[in-house]
Structure formats: structure tokens, C-alpha cells
């Protein structure tokens, strides 16, 4: 096992308060990406 994630980053990843705000941020960001629309790619249509 090699420690590739620093203690600070691990704290951020596991801290429920920080992660709560991250949850809100990620939810909105993913909603924008996924529900933000889709369409075709062909110019002649």
C-alpha cells in the first residue's frame, strides 16, 4: 500500500461538514452537465 493521498486531502475527503457543501456543489454541477441539454452532431440536419 502506497500513500498517494495526503493527510490533508484525506481529511477533506472524509470531513462531513466540508463534504456536505461539496455534495451541494457536486449535485448542482452534475445536474447542469447532465440535464443541461443534449442534441445532434450532424450539421446537415
Amino acid at each position: 500500500m502506497t500513500q498517494r493521498i495526503s493527510k490533508t486531502k484525506r481529511f477533506i475527503m472524509t470531513n462531513p461538514i466540508i463534504q456536505f457543501f461539496k455534495y451541494i456543489y457536486l449535485s448542482l454541477k452534475i445536474l447542469v452537465i447532465v440535464a443541461g441539454g443534449h442534441g445532434g452532431t450532424r450539421k446537415n440536419i
Binding site: I5, G36, H38, G39
Partner: protein, 484 residues
């Protein structure tokens, strides 16, 4: 009055049925034909496979819901397609065979005005010798039944480890052309976390095996993504996660045979190797169902409808990887020969892979097939439903389009269960199929919309999706406000 028949009641078929029923008047008939009695939220199979959820928590019976919502339902499987009818039946129809009840084994010609083929993939375990869920110490999490067996097998190994025995665990893809690496990725991280919870992590050697050229390919040719303030390759991100958790990996491997506790595989270098295990979960290859199609005179016209999966408005001209474009990918999922047949979700034949195809020195193709995930399945099913509604209402063109080359997807991969101690790897990708012309400097993807994140919030997101999509699937109040 129009009759719309939907084959399959998975994510794609169910989404199409629910939207059609909501938007069409009751004068129009919506009929679902599926051999399965339950709707299952497949992404949560992972948690059934580690014993943290029961099957009942991820499924519900379809018949009562469909009865309440006035959606017809026949528990049967499609046998053959007759898009011109036959000498006895003027209308196009699908021949179905009932799989349960007093009609079991009986056939019926189900006529339609519009047909949505949402039959998904066949789990082709038979394409790998010895890959049989629950046998040879190898398991699957592709269905809730498989996932239950997987947990039984894993729990047995955990109990042995608690007695002091060491164990080797192998998780990944079980065929040289498998896809769905994301599900295996989720499972390996969840298994690793569960072993720590059971305090037997030090007794286990966990190994990832896959047909990917590099870690993090996911059948999408990998991706360049933003991670915090950095830009990194998905291979680097997954390598970081695996190293941090002490997971070994074997890539560029096409598993071709399973014996009791042994996986045999071929590498891209042409070497034949094997890996021992006490417990394995390997994703099989996916294939079409082998349906046949016939014209009015009963001539075989299967090639007009199927190329493994169903033919749609894609460009199927064979061409080398360097000439692949996003324009090859379908936009309306309409069959070119029979305009009243559609195949959203997993049922359509992709024009080609997304990952660069690679062949071993022995001539074996070892590279992932395109991934088939729930989010695009739902989106494409909804747009097919909307186009059919438009046609019924008199529109002449299909205005709703959704190419995988112009659509985003979120892969919220659970990395460990637990409300306060869980973790998740959240990855979004836009577009799913890389557009190297539009985004030439970022490996075909838009960086702001292609990002990764690791942490407890990812687990909460996955849990939210679990409850939200089951709520939506049950057609509870305002279900349609939840996007696909």
C-alpha cells in the same frame, strides 16, 4: 389511436413507457413486454454484492404499477420481429413467448404501430469458457440475483479470512471485449472497504484485471479531467486510488477461460498467463439477443434490423480508428428500414467502439466495447418517446435528438458504503464519445464538464440517485421533474 409496444422494462424501456403514458391520452395504448417481473435499479447491485443492501431495496414489481397507471404488461420474451406482418396478420407484429403463469410457453403475435426495442444486452457468459456466475468461485453483479450470490461467495471468503486464512480476490472484466468496467471498478473499491470494515484487509490480496489498455479507460478511451485545481488523466486518477488502497492491477488482459479458482488470460503482448483466486467477480461480454426478423413473405430480413444489436441511424461504414467521428453515432435511434421501430439505450448497435481497438500478437482483439450506462439509456429512451409522441401528433420530422457525441454522463462510482464513512469517486464526462474536432486540445472532451472528485460526498450522491431514481421509476408525484 396508436399502439406503442415496448420490449424490455429496464431503465430504457421503463423510461419510455412512463413518459409515453404520461404524455399520451388514454386513447393510445402503451404496452410493455418483458420477461422480468421486477424493475431493478441496476447501479445499486454493487451494494447487494457486498451485503449492505437487500434485493428488495433495489427493485419493485412492475405489474401493480403498470395496472395502476394503465400501461399494458405482458410477462413474456420477444422471439422474432415481423415489421411487415405476414400472410395472416396485416399489421407489423412481434412474436412473443410467455415465460410465466398458465400461458407459459404459449406464443402470441403482438401487433404495433410503433415499436421500441429496449431489450438491452444479453449477458454473454457463454463467450468465456467456465465463466458461470456462482461456479468456479467466480461471480457477477449484473443482476440482483447474481449480486446476492456474489455476496454469499464473498462472505464465505471473509469468514475464512477471519479464521486466519489468506485469500486472493480478483475483480474486473471476464472477456477480451467486455465493457462496464465502471461497475467492476465500483465493486473492487467496495469490496476493499468491506474487508477493512471486517478487519481482514491484511489477509487479502486484491487484484484488478481488465481489457483496458490503461487504467481508467472505462471503454471511453480514458479522459482528461479536471481534479481540484489540477488537470489529470483518468488513468492517473485511478492509479492513485488503487495504489492508495493497495490494489494491484493487470491491464491489457483478455480473460478467455475460467477453471475452479483460476482465470486464464491472454495479454496484448501475446503471452498466455493465469491468475489464481479465492473469489472473483468478472463482468461478461455483452451481446445482442440473436433475434430474427422476417418480411411479409416470411423471408429472413434479419440484416435489415440487426447487426448483433439493432441497427439505427448510425454510420456503420467500417473505417479505421483515425477516421472515427462523433457524427458516426446515432441521434434518433430510428431503424433506417422501418421508421416505426426505435432502439434506445443498450439495444442499438454502436457504429464502432470508443476506445482505440487493439489486437494481440496472436490476433485476439483485446479492448473494451463501448460502455452502456443508465444515464444515456434514460435520455435516449425519453427522446425516442418524445419523437413518437410528435409523430402521433402529426409532426413529420424527428426533432428530439441526442447523440452520445453531444451528451454528458455522470459516473458516480461508490468507493465504499457508509453514511459517514463511505466514499465515492464522481466522474462526469462531456461528451461521452470524444469530439476531437471540437475539443482538440483536451482529448475530445470539454474540461469544465469533465471532472473527477473523490470523497464522502460522492457516496451521498450515489445514495441520492438510488432513492431519487426509484422514486421516479415508481411514478410517485412529480416524478417527471427528476431528469434522466
Amino acid at each position: 389511436m396508436a399502439k406503442i409496444v415496448i420490449l424490455g422494462a429496464g431503465i430504457s424501456g421503463h423510461v419510455a413507457a412512463t413518459h409515453l403514458r404520461r404524455k399520451l391520452s388514454k386513447n393510445h395504448e402503451v404496452l410493455v413486454v418483458s420477461p422480468n417481473s421486477n424493475y431493478q435499479w441496476i447501479p445499486s447491485n454493487i451494494w447487494v454484492g457486498i451485503g449492505r443492501m437487500k434485493s428488495e431495496q433495489i427493485l419493485f414489481p412492475l405489474a401493480p404499477l403498470y395496472k395502476k397507471k394503465k400501461i399494458g404488461f405482458k410477462q413474456a420474451k420477444a422471439v422474432s420481429f415481423h415489421p411487415e406482418g405476414d400472410s395472416e396478420v396485416d399489421k407489423p407484429y412481434v412474436l412473443i413467448e410467455y415465460v410465466i403463469g398458465e400461458n407459459k410457453g404459449n406464443f402470441e403475435k403482438v401487433t404495433y404501430d410503433y415499436l421500441i426495442n429496449a431489450t438491452g444486452p444479453k449477458l454473454a457468459f457463454d463467450m468465456t469458457e467456465g465463466l458461470i456466475p456462482g461456479k468456479n468461485k467466480v461471480y457477477s453483479v449484473c443482476t440482483y440475483g447474481h449480486a446476492e450470490h456474489a455476496w454469499q461467495g464473498l462472505n464465505k471468503v471473509i469468514q475464512q479470512m477471519k479464521q486466519g486464512k489468506k485469500a486472493k480476490i480478483l475483480i474486473g472484466t471476464g472477456h477480451a471485449k467486455s465493457t462496464c468496467q465502471g461497475a467492476a471498478f465500483e465493486y473492487i473499491l467496495n469490496v476493499e472497504k468491506e474487508l477493512r470494515r471486517h478487519k481482514v484487509r491484511d489477509k487479502a490480496e486484491i487484484t484488478w484485471i481488465a481489457n483496458e489498455y490503461q487504467l481508467g479507460d472505462f471503454g471511453m478511451d480514458g479522459m482528461l479531467l479536471s481534479y481540484g485545481n489540477n488537470i489529470m488523466k483518468s488513468s492517473e486518477m485511478i492509479e492513485m486510488v488503487f495504489e492508495d488502497r493497495g490494489i494491484k492491477w493487470i491491464t491489457r488482459a483478455g480473460v478467455n477461460k475460467i477453471e475452479d479458482g483460476v482465470a486464464h488470460y491472454e495479454t496484448l503482448d501475446g503471452e498466455y498467463k493465469s491468475e489464481n483466486f479465492d473469489f472473483a467477480m468478472l463482468i461478461p461480454a455483452f451481446s445482442g439477443h440473436g433475434f430474427k426478423a422476417y418480411d411479409k413473405s416470411d423471408n429472413d430480413i434479419t440484416e435489415k434490423l440487426f447487426k448483433g444489436f439493432m441497427l439505427v441511424d448510425a454510420d456503420y461504414t467500417p473505417k479505421p480508428y483515425e477516421q472515427w467521428t462523433v457524427q458516426d453515432w446515432p441521434e434518433t435511434y430510428q431503424n433506417p428500414s422501418y421508421k416505426n421501430i426505435f432502439a434506445p439505450g443498450i439495444a442499438f448497435a454502436p457504429p464502432h467502439a470508443i476506445s482505440k481497438p487493439r489486437v494481440s500478437k496472436n490476433g485476439t482483439s483485446i479492448s473494451p466495447a463501448p460502455p452502456r450506462t443508465g444515464m444515456p439509456s434514460g435520455i435516449t429512451a425519453k427522446l425516442v418517446a418524445e419523437n413518437i409522441i410528435d409523430i402521433i401528433n402529426g409532426k413529420k420530422t424527428l426533432n428530439h435528438r441526442g447523440s452520445l457525441g453531444n451528451m454528458g454522463a455522470a459516473c458516480i462510482a461508490s468507493a465504499g458504503y457508509g453514511l459517514m464513512k463511505g466514499s465515492g469517486v464522481s466522474i462526469t464526462t462531456f461528451p461521452i464519445v470524444p469530439d476531437y474536432v471540437k475539443y482538440p486540445d483536451t482529448q475530445g472532451r470539454k474540461l469544465g464538464k469533465t471532472f473527477g472528485d473523490i470523497g464522502l460526498a460522492g457516496h451521498w450522491l450515489k445514495l441520492t440517485l438510488h432513492y431519487a431514481f426509484l422514486y421516479k421509476a415508481k411514478m410517485k408525484p412529480f416524478w417527471w421533474l427528476i431528469p434522466e
